[in-house]
């Protein structure tokens, strides 16, 4: 039993990332409200950012800023070789990915505004029901039913 707990705590942030990702994924699939879906997508993406940031971690590493850089080239080389830095690359990648995630959210919210203007609701069920009723050509079944009624 204590073994399992040790395993969980040894890679604590990875467990968190998997859990968060599943929460986000669940929200995207199961929630009927469109805003909740977008929040789910955000949690999902943030979980992946957490994964990348965890990758960059080096035990005892400091921020990747060159110390004593102004002392000249030799000193700078010495500083690089002696100090342990965390890996800066995943941070930079995630900065880009955050920008992408923000733009995706912005587009999603803009679409949601349009959907609300059109259908007066953000609930998936209501929108679907409204669409079926409004546009018989949307579903063949509804069209045939309507023709049958006429």
């Amino acid at each position: 039993m204590s073994g399992i707990i040790e395993i969980i705590f040894a890679e604590f942030n990875y467990w968190i990332y998997v859990t968060l990702m599943m929460i986000g994924f669940y929200a995207m699939i199961a929630k009927k409200n469109l805003i909740k879906k977008v929040i789910g997508a955000n949690i999902f993406q943030t979980a992946i950012f957490l994964f990348y940031i965890s990758l960059a971690e080096v035990k005892g590493g400091t921020a990747p800023i060159l110390l004593h850089g102004h002392d000249g080239a030799d000193a700078a080389h010495k500083a690089v070789s002696e100090v342990i830095y965390v890996n800066p690359l995943p941070h930079v990648l995630i900065l880009t990915a955050i920008v992408v995630a923000v733009s995706t959210t912005a587009v999603a919210l803009a679409l949601i505004i349009k959907i609300y203007e059109e259908y007066g609701s953000l609930e998936e069920d209501v929108i679907l029901a409204y669409r079926r009723q409004l546009q018989p050509e949307f579903s063949e079944h509804a069209r045939q039913k309507q023709e049958g009624e006429q």
Binding site: F25, M28, L34, K37, A41, F44, Q45, I48, F51, Y52, L55, P90, L93, T96, A97, V100, S103, T104, V107, A108, L111, I112, K114, I115, E118, Y119, I127, R131, L134, Q135, E137, F138, E140, R143
Partner: protein, 503 residues
């Protein structure tokens, strides 16, 4: 060094940068005069077409182009690599982009009179995204371009049918975000085990750690992510709505290019990031892909028969055609691979032509329900003839380009000893006849009840030119399939499967 040399040296990056810059400058051009937007897009697309043709020519004559961004050498800096595979796909993107661009002037004026400037701006950004996805040799850079192309596609689809467009776009956005996130996660896994993001570098580093579970998980994430992006059968839910409700020009562009570039990315990741031994023998991913593709071919065709909206029918037909491409890729022998790759070209030409025809009919008559197409054969003879040629090519009639790729796919299946796929291809061709026949029947043999005397009312010339050109190319490549096969696809298939080396 003259200015011309400077341009030729930087051609690979310019194919991405020029549409990007032009896309951002479009609002300024449109601010001066809205009519200038179209000329601006034409100028850009023509330049891009010239550059991609030049790139492909250079690749065929003198081998793969490597371009280092900012002069940083590969494992550290971002590298753009153009080999036969992306040279070929880039040329398709530029050509289809130009055709849809020419077509769009009238169609956009009618369908989106207030959104001409944003449409063209986003149009160019979509081309940038697709071009960048294709040309880049760095997988994180690939992810960024993937998102650029996805975001612009969401915006284009949302401009479509009132009410429906936004819902279709939102569905696509949710599915697309899942796909892109999976791909990002896969990239993270590969970075964690190799410490590299460069495709060529990674292919060298990965084989020694193939027994690592992380690599396996990365492959699984990539395959699921790309399956959503290309609309492979069980994950196709976003595709029919998105294609149906986008504006006509955007449908043609997205149907012609988005899924094809997704298929390209799948090929690139399967055979260039991972090695053929890994996907074919060690994980048998290629075999799984063939079965999924066979399922998509049959189900897509069957669903297409049930549709009455022509754009929706074409969308379901796209699902089945994507199956053909991936079937060829999954067969993983040289002939099947050639068939699959040729089908990327075919499907872009045919599906783009068909969507342009659907748009032209909608432009003239406002009809999309194919049961109301009676008499169109007399009203719009050129447009419907283009439809006939493209549809025959889709069915796979000898003499059209669709026949060649189906022939190669069937031969590839026989070579792989999988007779069932030959049957699948035949059955699907029969189903194609069924759903296209319903359209032919209405266009040429249906009797319009309302109007007795039908006046000829053809689509405008700017719409006819690209449609006719695409139809002519369908026949040209059907008769002279030797050229793409001999110069590009055969050496390419050999190189992808690790039998030969690229020049």
């Amino acid at each position: 060094m003259t200015g011309f040399d400077l341009i030729t040296d930087h051609l690979p990056v310019l194919t991405v940068v020029i549409p990007l810059m032009a896309g951002f400058l479009t609002p300024i051009v449109g601010w001066i005069d809205r009519k200038l937007c179209w000329y601006w897009v034409m100028l850009t697309m023509f330049a891009v077409l010239l550059m991609t043709s030049s790139n492909l020519y250079t690749v065929i004559t003198s081998g793969t182009i490597h371009y280092h961004l900012g002069g940083w050498t590969p494992p550290i800096g971002i590298e753009y690599v153009i080999d036969l595979l992306n040279g070929f796909v880039c040329l398709i993107i530029a050509f289809i982009g130009l055709m849809v661009g020419i077509y769009s002037i009238e169609s956009i004026k009618k369908e989106l009179p207030n959104k001409i400037i944003p449409f063209y701006s986003i149009f160019l950004l979509l081309i940038t995204g697709l071009m960048g996805m294709t040309i880049t040799g760095d997988i994180f850079n690939f992810y960024v371009f993937l998102e650029i192309s996805s975001l612009t596609a969401y915006a284009l689809i949302a401009m479509g049918d009132r009410g429906d467009g936004v819902v279709a776009s939102f569905n696509y956005l949710i599915m697309g975000t899942v796909a892109a996130s999976f791909i990002l996660l896969g990239i993270g896994y590969l970075y964690a085990v190799t410490g590299s993001l460069n495709i060529a570098d990674m292919q060298g580093l990965l084989p020694s750690i193939y027994d690592n579970k992380v690599v396996l998980a990365a492959l699984a994430f990539f395959m699921v992510g790309f399956s959503i992006k290309v609309g492979l059968f069980p994950l196709h839910a976003w595709l029919p709505d998105a294609y149906t409700h986008a504006p006509s020009a955007a449908s043609a562009l997205i149907a012609g290019l988005m899924t094809k570039v997704g298929a390209y990315a799948m090929i690139r990741f399967m055979f260039s990031v991972f090695t053929p031994e890994f996907v074919i023998d060690m994980t048998r991913m290629a075999e799984i892909l063939t079965w999924a593709a066979a399922l998509a071919i049959v189900v897509g065709s069957v669903l297409a028969i049930a549709q009455s909206d022509i754009k929706r029918m074409l969308a379901y037909s796209s699902i089945s055609q994507i199956g053909y491409i991936l079937l060829g890729v999954g067969l993983a022998n040289v002939i099947g691979m050639q068939g699959g790759l040729l089908h990327i070209l075919n499907h872009s030409l045919m599906k783009c032509a068909l969507f342009l025809v659907a748009g032209a009919i909608f432009y003239r008559t406002g009809i999309r329900n194919l049961h109301q197409f009676q008499g169109l054969g007399k009203k719009m003879p050129v447009t419907t003839t283009v439809f006939l040629i493209a549809a025959l090519s889709m069915i796979g009639v000898p003499g059209t380009v669709g026949f060649t790729s189906k022939w190669y796919l069937a031969l590839g299946s026989i070579n792989a000893g999988q007779w069932i796929f030959v049957i699948v291809i035949l059955v699907s061709s029969l189903l194609n006849i069924v759903y296209f026949w319903r359209v032919f029947d209405n266009i040429w043999f249906g009797h319009p009840h309302e109007v007795e005397h039908i006046k000829r009312d053809e689509a405008p010339l700017s719409m006819l030119i690209p449609m006719v050109l695409l139809a002519v190319l369908c026949i040209f490549f059907g008769l002279f399939a030797y050229y793409p096969l001999h110069y590009v696809l055969e050496p390419l298939s050999n190189a992808l499967l690790g039998i030969g080396v690229l020049p």
